[in-house]
């Protein structure tokens, strides 16, 4: 059996036909755990991993209704950056970024974190003001970020259209060099494997159908594979957070919407960085396989179906062509959607709830992949200590009552 991944083990396996350990062992649920994590996405698996690794709690189960990584973790455009505007948010995402930088080694699993840089383009004067504001805030917070002008963008990305004679000319951009992409599935699997090596049970095809609450305290969960008792339950089920909350008689201030993405057929490398544009609604990078991975906008209606409207992807294709006219004859190979849990202030909720022992980690909306390690890390500590991790404090669910919103999407309205 080959436990540890290395060149040595790979050679050995190749010569000897020795087999690999199961990265994701098939297990059936025990009747009782110290902690149950609902949702086997990146965040849930990371939570379990850090519970076991940093908090010494190994009697943990991750309960996933489908296959692990099959939620948004497995269907996102994998953009990772930490150049967020608000101090609270940037601290959290930067914490995550630092974990990313050592993640493959930590997990002994190459998650293919590729720091190829992320551009956030600006197309209007107000975009540029916002970019300046954000970049300056980042630098003061110790997050690497710079403002670059159109000329420099063109030098770095020769295929981008920086002509002034387009509908939304590129005026400039913020750039985070440490940003990039990672292999989405690998992130889920890497955390799952590392967690199960530490003793965590990862139980797939097991849907939580109810949460047992007695006298304000969580007792366990009912699942399609039977009842499981637990002292603490962490809910990390992204698009399904409202559904789980309802099981415990709670509400969370999120709404579920479809968010779509599509990929082109694979081509030889041509785009070596990540380009995002909010004004024209599209982001693009080229995967290591060669396909262009493109993220579109969100559909305005509530949905639990992992698909959206044609109009959104078509508009997104147009936006990508505004930026990269050379992609016009490139073909869309596959499109899909995920259900994102959108929070009113575009910031997550990492929080205990009114039910003792029940914790929620949700509301990551359209941008939580980049937070995967950081989110799991602070959530693990929050559950373990029954006290919010310092970085998670501002993300308490009570902020909607107290008014202490973080409002990451702030500058939305263009006006004069």
């Amino acid at each position: 059996m080959q436990k540890k991944y290395s060149w040595y083990s790979l050679l050995k396996a190749g010569f000897s036909d020795q087999d690999w350990d199961q990265a994701i062992p098939l297990v059936e649920p025990k009747s009782k755990y110290d902690v149950i994590i609902i949702g086997g996405g990146g965040h849930g698996l990371a939570t379990a991993y850090y519970l076991a690794k940093e908090c010494g709690i190994t009697n943990v189960a991750v309960v996933e209704k489908g296959y692990i990584g099959g939620g948004n973790t497995g269907r996102n455009t994998t953009i990772i950056r930490s150049n967020y505007l608000r101090d609270e948010a940037s601290s959290l995402y930067e914490h995550s970024m630092k974990l990313w930088e050592g993640l493959s080694e930590d997990l002994n699993f190459n998650v293919m974190f590729s720091q190829r840089g992320v551009y956030n383009l600006g197309h209007t004067l107000q975009d540029m003001r916002d970019i300046e504001r954000r970049v300056n805030a980042n630098v003061l917070n110790g997050v690497d970020a710079v403002v670059v002008d159109a000329k420099e963008i063109k030098e770095q990305i020769p295929i981008i259209n920086t002509s002034k004679n387009v509908r939304y000319p590129i005026m400039g951009s913020s750039f985070q060099a440490r940003g990039g992409v990672a292999r989405h599935d690998g992130v889920a699997w890497g955390f799952a494997r590392a967690a199960s090596i530490l003793g965590v049970d990862i139980i797939q095809n097991c849907e939580v159908i109810d949460i047992e609450v007695e006298e304000g305290r969580v007792k366990g969960v009912k699942t399609t594979k039977g009842d499981i008792i637990a002292d603490r339950v962490g809910c990390v089920s992204a698009g399904h957070s409202s559904v789980i909350a309802k099981m415990a008689g709670l509400k969370v201030p999120v709404e579920s919407h479809p968010l779509q993405a599509f990929v082109s057929e694979a081509m030889k490398p041509i785009l070596h960085t990540v380009v995002m544009s909010n004004a024209v609604h599209g982001y693009v990078s080229q995967s290591d396989k060669g396909d262009l991975v493109i993220g579109a906008g969100i559909d305005g209606y509530n949905s639990y179906a992992q698909r959206g409207s044609a109009k959104i992807v078509e508009h997104c294709a147009a936006a990508i062509l505004e930026l990269f006219p050379i992609f016009s004859r490139v073909r869309m190979n596959r499109q899909w959607g995920g259900i994102v849990d959108v929070c009113p202030d575009a910031c997550p909720i990492i929080s205990p709830t009114k039910v003792e022992g029940l914790y929620f980690n949700c509301g990551w909306g359209t941008g939580g992949f980049k937070a995967t390690p950081g989110s799991g890390n602070v959530f693990a500590h929050t559950i373990a200590q029954d006290k919010q991790h310092e970085l998670a404090e501002p993300f308490h669910i009570d902020r909607f009552t107290s008014g202490a919103l973080i409002d990451e999407h702030g500058a939305a309205g263009v006006a004069h």
């Binding site: 509400k251 579920s256 509530n302 949905s303 639990y304 179906a305 409207s309 109009k311 009113p344 107290s402």
Partner: protein, 94 residues
């Protein structure tokens, strides 16, 4: 792309004429000042975000500009019913 029956235009039109306008039956409190912060937050921020058949508001933005009610499955996207505003006032009706 949905095909939505506007109860005012009495015609099915493409989704691109409409905009979704949130869950239905979220009435603005009569006397906001009398509410606790938590009650007010519930009105402003909390939605039931139902998985299944849900009543919601749509507006025929590029048509008759009327807000109306749609009962739609958030699982299959099937539209089960539409109603003019006020025709239905709570989940249990119809």
């Amino acid at each position: 792309m949905f095909l939505i029956d506007c109860p005012y235009c009495k015609e099915s039109r493409d989704q691109n004429e409409f905009s979704p306008a949130g869950e239905a039956f979220i009435a603005r409190p009569q006397n906001p000042e009398d509410l606790s912060d938590a009650e007010w937050a519930d009105y402003v921020f909390y939605r039931s975000n139902h998985k299944g058949d849900q009543w919601e508001q749509w507006v025929h933005t590029n048509g008759c500009r009327k807000y109306f009610l749609v009962k739609r499955s958030t699982i299959s996207h099937e539209i089960i019913k539409v109603a003019a505003f006020g025709e239905v006032t709570s989940d249990s009706e119809l």
